[in-house]
Amino acid sequence: MALVMKKHAMPEQDPQVRAHNFNEVALGYDRETAIAEASRCLNCPKPRCVQGCPVQVKIPNFIAKVKSGDFADAIGIIKESNALPAVCGRVCPQENQCEKYCVMGVRGEPVGIGRLERFAADYDLKKPHEIKPIKYAADTQKVAVVGSGPAGLSAAGELAKKGYKVTVFEALHKAGGVLSYGIPEFRLPKEKIVQVEIANLKKLGVEIRLDTVIGKLYTVDELMQEEGFAAVFVSTGAGLPSFMHIPGENLNGVYSANEFLTRCNLMKAYKFPEYHTPLKVGKTVAVVGGGNVAMDAARTSLRLGAEHVYIVYRRSEKELPARLEEVHHAKDEGIDFKLLNNPVEVIGDENGNVKALRCIKMQLGEPDASGRRRPIPIEGSEFELPVETVVVAIGQGPNPLVQSTTPDMHTNKRGNIVADEATGATTKAGVFAGGDIVTGAATVILAMGAGKKAAQAIDEYLKKKA
């Protein structure tokens, strides 16, 4: 049989239609397409794809099961390595990970590993599952997890399965971290996927305490000394928004991407006034940045009614850090990419509202420390982009609330927690950390991997101590 060189297309909502609704964009393979795509896999004896996956999903093995129609077995294999496949199948930057190394990609397109992972996971989510709560012994030890993003959720799941009583403390009124407040509904459905995964954890016996800010309501020391937790895993993410520090950034209409997306996703401003939290988009929006966060904010703006949305990014298309698929989707939906441009000032009207974003054109110079070519301003090339809203999506740093109240848990000069790469152990005995709070803003799968490693290390630590 001749090799099919191209990936089977992913059915998706029409760009004209989806740009005005919050339903999921990519619709997922059906059975037949999944089996056909799985048949493209060569089942390599030394699968290069696996090396590209941060948690080493046994890719050829699960794909073989999809190919033979044994979908339940397929998901079983994936779940040995990855606790949230429905999420990762959707949001992993596959083109830089598993699919980047797939041999099929040498001459044609790589196997759609992410799409197949998603297919198997969705198949599984549709089936009713009976999850039996863990029966704890009277002397079971308690472990605290701080933050309910992918790092915290995967650590909690692993620890529960190892027999610990786990309590997850979450500052917001909803669990899930970025999966709930950051990544939009049209990319990652909340009720269908994120909340189902969280409900399953609860059924297992994990307790989730919402509205609980660690560093304020309890310190880490209090959790260990007064609340009886034998170990703590800190996974508070990269939640501190960066601003550009240019004139006019405090004007009405300038949002951090965090605020913009939180108002929309967590507070459901897209259903205003049925939901009471307001969000102003205006007719023209400029989103500053080129990562997933920027793409999400830009595409959210369209869906909230903006007529013209710019992405303003200081490097060129090649350097855009966003997932390839998101860039394609954004373009199809009509987002206007202003590449090689950098904002220098936000200009306001007499009422303190944004009326324009002043930018300067850039050109690429020599590669910098990150290996990407450094953008240099072109003198005298400033111009004004008339916009009513500016969303700043240029990165997030670590929120200091936990670190500043836990002095013996050391941080580096950026404020990230110092933790052992293999175990997540911090400088404080019994306290482990992982995910974005350690690495800086990264990916869902890396955060999950860190949670899983730390769970293993916490288990070993507690057994040794006993």
Partner: protein, 282 residues
């Protein structure tokens, strides 16, 4: 879920709730605030912790119905639960022995958050002169409580129906003019009032602390929506404040940002109003 143990009307549209929240009561300090959400559709509403009773395990809020969110909150009754309460947020007030003479100024419902501060200052032995301002006598709140924790209380009413006729700044000027050595002023109330207090103390270089209330979402430093210009820095009021050195605050910028959603707030309020009429008819 957090149960409302007591509901009391302090003046028209101004409510005091005692909420059952033992861990928050244990950790709360003067100057800090909490965030409530009444229902799934509701906003996150920041409110100052007006009091806390560690023994009883309760915290108090005093709030005024000004729009959709606070109206829905005001419709709850004793025994009802508040869906979410997040606290204690923000930094506590700097209170220590030997600060000298402290003037605590509360305007309108700002008296509620100034009360635990005055009490804290008094407890450690500082001299507390309190100024309470209201439009008229009927809407003055917590006078008895304030008198119990102050060495001296001056009341001002805009219409002269009680105490000194005029604004809190008139009372403050009287204290300055009589030669009282003031070591610190703390003012909480409407932004225009705080700005006037700051202008009143500026010529005398009296340290003046104000508690800011920009529009907030998470209250944990995650969104940056609460940012205010303080001196040459941008601060997040929810984690760096809410109290700041009043002489450095950009009040104009703060007021502008507070007005950001005025038109949408109207729509929201009409919507909630319609909903409660429908509920009432059922």
């Amino acid at each position: 879920m957090y149960k409302i143990l007591k509901k009391e009307l302090l003046s028209p549209k101004v409510w005091l709730y005692d909420i059952e929240a033992p861990q928050i009561a244990k950790k709360a300090q003067p100057g800090q605030f909490l965030i409530v959400r009444t229902d799934e559709e509701g906003e996150r509403i920041p409110l100052t912790i007006a009091d806390f009773d560690r023994a009883k395990g309760t915290v108090s809020i005093v709030f005024q119905e000004v729009g959709a969110g606070t109206e829905v909150l005001g419709q709850l009754n004793e025994g009802d639960d508040i869906l979410d309460v997040v606290a204690p947020l923000g930094k506590k007030t700097h209170i220590e022995k030997g600060m000298g003479t402290v003037v605590c100024i509360g305007g309108g419902i700002g008296v509620a958050p100034i009360y635990p501060i005055a009490r804290g200052m008094h407890q450690v032995g500082n001299k507390v002169i309190s100024i309470m301002g209201a439009k008229n006598k009927e809407i003055l709140i917590l006078e008895k409580q304030m008198r119990a924790v102050s060495d001296e209380v001056l009341v001002t009413t805009d219409d002269g129906s009680y105490g000194i006729k005029g604004f809190v700044t008139n009372a403050l000027q009287q204290i300055i003019d009589r030669g009282e050595k003031i070591d610190e002023v703390i003012a909480i109330g409407p932004v225009v009032m705080m700005r006037s207090v700051v202008e009143a103390t500026r010529p005398y270089k009296i340290k003046t602390v104000v508690s800011l209330n920009p529009i907030m979402v998470d209250g944990t430093g995650m969104c940056g929506g609460c940012r205010v210009q303080v001196g040459d820095e941008i601060k997040f009021a929810c984690v760096d404040g809410p109290e700041f050195d009043g002489h450095l605050v950009d009040f104009k910028g703060l007021m502008s940002r507070q007005r950001m959603y005025k038109d949408m707030e109207k729509i929201e309020s009409d919507h909630v109003c319609k909903l409660s009429t429908v509920k009432g008819e059922l």
